[in-house]
């Protein structure tokens, strides 16, 4: 089996235009959460969100963006950052040996909502001809192929909050087992539309806005936590086999070594400690590691009452006494819940911690829930110079649990 290494990362989030901006903002404890100022924000119970605020559409020609929903624009920019960092050109034969593994929860939500709005308000209106190819779930996947001439297998994963973590895990397996030598893996999400946000409000999992400091409203593992804040963004990894990276002299950022993926088979929204624990164990087993080998966890940590409690219990179940020794960060407090992209965003954050030796904080955690009694790095970013191994948890509606493990390359 091949070793799988990371040679490029990319991220476009509420915290900035690239992966470095994300990691640095996380370490500073900066929040991308704010009240939306869109014309329809007043129709929401809470207009809190973590939007990408840098100009995005302008990065594409008018002709190109005619076919690109915002989610594809975000996806292309994040994937582009990873490809450029890896220093590889897929327009030649390498493009035949590269797969695309992309996750998204809702695909082109803006396009679909616009088409519905027009059609429902005016029976005479015809949706734009590009509507289908802009909102279909695999639109970003196909557009990444077109942009970078990647012509190997393509996979679109939709597993709610774990979508892009599944994508990274499956890309890892494809390279590990020799199906492809390269993969662009990650995900994108852009669902900050009136209809989608109202639907989320009805589900009653969103954070109650803090009246004075709205940017602190998402408080994972805190006693006063009340839910998450919807975000948007995209993140990507360029994965390749160790041998191709060494052969072309590419700088190796990290090695991907473990992937766990389980299904709760119990409830469509309620997380299950057993299912999460099995995914963590699977990832550790595949990595050939014991609990003491894990130096940092980027938690799923959404800030919901039941979610944080169950994740804490799952970590304790697998790690035993070592659970209290692991610095655990829930970065959704700052970049929001990026849904289908969140696994990839958090993997980029965790890889940033691995590379820099600085673990980001779990922000806004003034008073922990007594039942959430692990080390959540609540004091601020922590220097961890000896960090060698990271884990990233992503647990999605539908009962899908995905865990990724990476190490420093040596």
């Amino acid at each position: 089996m091949r070793r799988v290494v990371v040679t490029g990362v990319g991220a476009l989030t509420a915290l900035g235009a690239d992966a470095d901006a994300l990691c640095q903002a996380l370490n500073r404890g900066e929040s991308g959460i704010r009240h939306l100022d869109t014309p329809w924000a007043g129709q929401l119970t809470s207009s809190l969100a973590a939007p990408v605020t840098i100009p995005v559409a302008d990065r594409f020609t008018k002709l190109r963006r005619l076919m690109l929903d915002r989610v594809s624009q975000l996806s292309l920019l994040a994937a582009g950052e990873a490809v450029v960092q890896a220093g590889i050109d897929f327009s030649g034969d390498d493009g035949l040996d590269c797969g695309i593994f992309w996750g998204t929860g809702m695909g082109g939500a803006h396009t679909l909502e616009q088409a519905y709005l027009e059609s429902l308000h005016n029976p005479e209106a015809r949706p734009r001809p590009s509507t289908i190819v802009m909102f279909m779930a695999n639109a970003s996947t196909g557009q990444i192929g077109i942009e970078f001439k990647i012509r190997g297998p393509s996979h679109t994963h939709s597993a709610a909050c774990s979508s892009s973590a599944v994508a990274i895990g499956e890309a890892f397996m494809a390279i590990r087992h020799g199906r492809v030598r390269y993969a662009v893996a990650g995900g994108g999400e852009s669902l900050l539309t009136l209809g989608v946000m109202r639907a989320w409000e009805s589900l009653q999992t969103l954070a109650r806005p803090d009246p004075e400091h709205p940017e602190t409203s998402c408080r994972p593992f805190a006693k006063d936590r009340s839910g998450f804040v919807l975000g948007e963004g995209a993140a990507a990894l360029l994965l390749e086999s160790e041998e191709t990276a060494l052969a072309r002299g590419a700088p190796i950022l990290a090695e991907l070594v473990g992937y766990g993926n389980t299904t709760d088979a119990s409830h469509i929204t309620q997380p299950d400690v057993g299912g999460q624990a099995r995914a963590i164990r699977q990832a550790l087993d595949q990595a050939g590691m014991v609990p003491e080998d894990i130096h940092h966890i980027n938690a799923h940590g959404t800030g919901t009452r039941v979610g944080d409690l169950h994740e804490t219990r799952a970590i304790k179940t697998v790690f035993g006494p070592w659970a209290t020794k692991i610095p655990i960060s829930a970065t959704k407090a700052l970049h929001g819940h990026v849904m289908g992209a969140t696994g990839a965003v958090e993997m980029v954050a965790a890889l940033g911690a691995l590379r820099s030796g600085i673990v980001p904080p779990t922000a806004h955690l003034a008073e922990p829930d007594p039942e959430c009694d692990l080390d959540y790095v609540r004091e601020g970013a922590r220097h961890l110079p000896g960090i060698q191994t990271i884990m990233s948890n992503s647990f999605g509606f539908g009962g899908n649990n995905v865990v990724l493990v990476a190490t420093a390359y040596r």
Partner: protein, 83 residues
């Protein structure tokens, strides 16, 4: 001289970011990066602009001039005088 050509050229420049030099009547759309789907998108824009109703039947259009000819034909068909 097509009555719709100048408007169509201006719209191609505005909507697709093309230049005046690129949108000559004989210019091939595919060479400008305007593929078949973008052409259909553009025809929908023209429907709104000229208050036309297209039949939904595919029309073979390869050049900027052919767009104008098609729009002129529909304008003639669908104007009160043309009916």
């Amino acid at each position: 001289m097509s009555s719709s050509l100048p408007v169509i050229q201006a719209m191609l420049i505005e909507e697709f970011g093309l230049t005046a030099e690129q949108v000559q009547p004989e210019s091939e759309l595919s060479a400008l990066g305007v593929d078949s789907l973008a052409t259909v998108e553009f025809m929908f824009m023209l429907e709104d602009k000229f208050k036309l109703k297209m039949t939904g039947e595919p029309v073979p259009i390869k050049t900027v001039g052919e767009i104008a000819r098609e729009v002129d034909r529909m304008l003639a068909e669908q104007s009160p005088e043309g009916s």
